[in-house]
Symmetry: C2
Subunit: 299 residues, 2 copies
């Protein structure tokens, strides 16, 4: 297939690198500099100590017609991308954002495009503008957002590398919700407390606070199987004990966090359902303060 990948971050480069084995790839970046570098050097992927080089086209903006477009930008850049995509002829678009806030934007998006949603379960770290480290081998679970006609893309995407499986599922929303639940338990707390993931279960007070966030999120999402889900959250803290969460890394590096995609979505849903979520509201506001480094002036 002819695949366009929008976004040159860790996930964009990872997708481009693996999918280039079977497909013709174009990476669309925001900065011309990065597009140039990808054209000149290809994309380097390091996995388990080995480095692979992939060839891809690269350009800025989004133009042309593809068999599949994959949108890998962070949620806070999504609206700009949707505006660009609105100008393109009808095509298939797969969205790989974290959190669930993008579902609300897609629901309100008046478009003829065929939309798909995917959940990335890989670990990846951008090393440079043309290099990515594949730090955790997982899968991408994906499905059709509105309609049912996914069969053609589905067959094409079945043929990917063993380290980069694309698993089709009608249950993508459940997958998204469980990932959101894990994220909202781990990300805000680790960022506010400045601790690694494992500390959330090593310290009884922090675990209690995580349980407060968990209870509120479970109630907003209307999830059953609370016991299984809590064990799942705890097991992720355990497995990733030595890791810094992405939100902690964003705060440390002075970048915008995925706060709106994760906590913001839950707060919107809570408000609509008139559920009080004090811990989530607190995390949201204090993360905002930390992000803006509002420590110099008042208002």
């Amino acid at each position: 297939m002819k695949i366009g990948i929008i976004g040159g971050g860790a996930i964009g480069l990872l997708c481009a690198s693996y999918l280039s084995q079977q497909h013709d790839i174009t990476v669309f970046t925001r900065r011309n500099e990065q597009a140039k570098e990808i054209r000149a050097s290809g994309i380097e992927r390091t996995v388990r100590g080995e480095t692979f080089r992939a060839v891809a086209h690269a350009d800025t903006g989004v133009k042309g017609i593809f068999d599949l477009l994959i949108v890998t930008v962070k949620y806070h850049h999504l609206q700009d991308v949707l505006d660009e995509l609105s100008t393109l002829p009808r095509q298939r678009i797969l969205f790989l954002q974290n959190g669930m806030a993008h579902l609300l934007d897609l629901e309100n998006w008046k478009t003829a495009h065929q939309l798909y949603i995917g959940v990335v379960e890989h670990g990846a770290m951008k090393v440079s503008d043309h290099a990515v480290a594949h730090t955790g081998i997982g899968v991408i679970k994906w499905g059709a957002f509105h309609h049912k006609e996914a069969a053609d893309v589905r067959n094409e995407l079945n043929e990917t590398s063993a380290h980069f499986q694309m698993v089709y599922t009608d249950e993508w929303k459940k997958v998204l919700e469980e990932k959101l639940l894990v994220n909202v338990c781990i990300n805000p707390l680790t960022a506010l407390l400045h601790v690694k993931n494992g500390e959330l279960i090593a310290n009884a007070s922090y675990e209690y606070m995580m349980k407060c966030a968990f209870e509120e999120a479970v109630s907003v999402l209307g999830l059953s199987e609370k016991e299984r889900l809590w064990s799942h959250v705890v097991s992720i803290c355990d497995k990733t004990a030595a890791n810094q969460s992405s939100m902690l890394q964003d705060i440390v590096k002075g970048r915008q966090t995925e706060r709106k995609a994760i906590v913001g979505y839950l707060l919107k849903q809570a408000q609509a359902q008139e559920i009080l979520t004090p811990h989530l509201a607190f995390f949201n506001r204090s993360l905002e303060v930390l992000e803006k480094k509002q420590t110099k002036s008042f208002e």
Copy 2:
């Protein structure tokens, strides 16, 4: 009386200014610059639009023998002052720190001095090295820390200005505890959320979080009359709705907060009693992160 006042902050200057009406005052400052300025210009106090000038001696360090020494430094400078005071001949010393952490230090202090504890209920703001604004007229409640012999100082201190009453009470510990309770409810939350005091009762989520801190603090302090105390906390938020708490101001101005004196004391007491105080532990750690601006590197 010959009174020495240790510390040239808002409370130090306020005490010096009022007490100079009946007593011979020496202010001990950390910086020589400030001592010089007080000697040259006296102390200016502004209250309800009027400005009064007081004359006082001023010096650095602490030396000499006084009828009363008043220690007005913040808790995080107290240990240095105790070390200095240890070298002086036996005298009467009144401690005016916020929070309750200083009680633990004084209990462990091997000294022949006669110790008194006071609780400041004034509002005051340092305007310059020799000027203070008296923004809220209250009282100082004080009592003897260990022994009972306070009669002589008590009589002398009864003769203060109407705007600066010194009220003797055997119940000073209860007064201290109630002030600590208000502080631990309002200060950390306003600093972390970057909101004025009134917002804590205007927003249902924030009020819920304040109630969590309240419950934990009440349990650690073993206080009864929970309903009256909660109404008291809420009424303070209401009366000071437009104010920025001192902890918020400290964070905004990049200064060290009174975190250890307030939250730190409660955490120590909680640990000794094996009470879980997850919200207080969370506030303590996230304030520490905000104070240290640990947003650049990890560990």
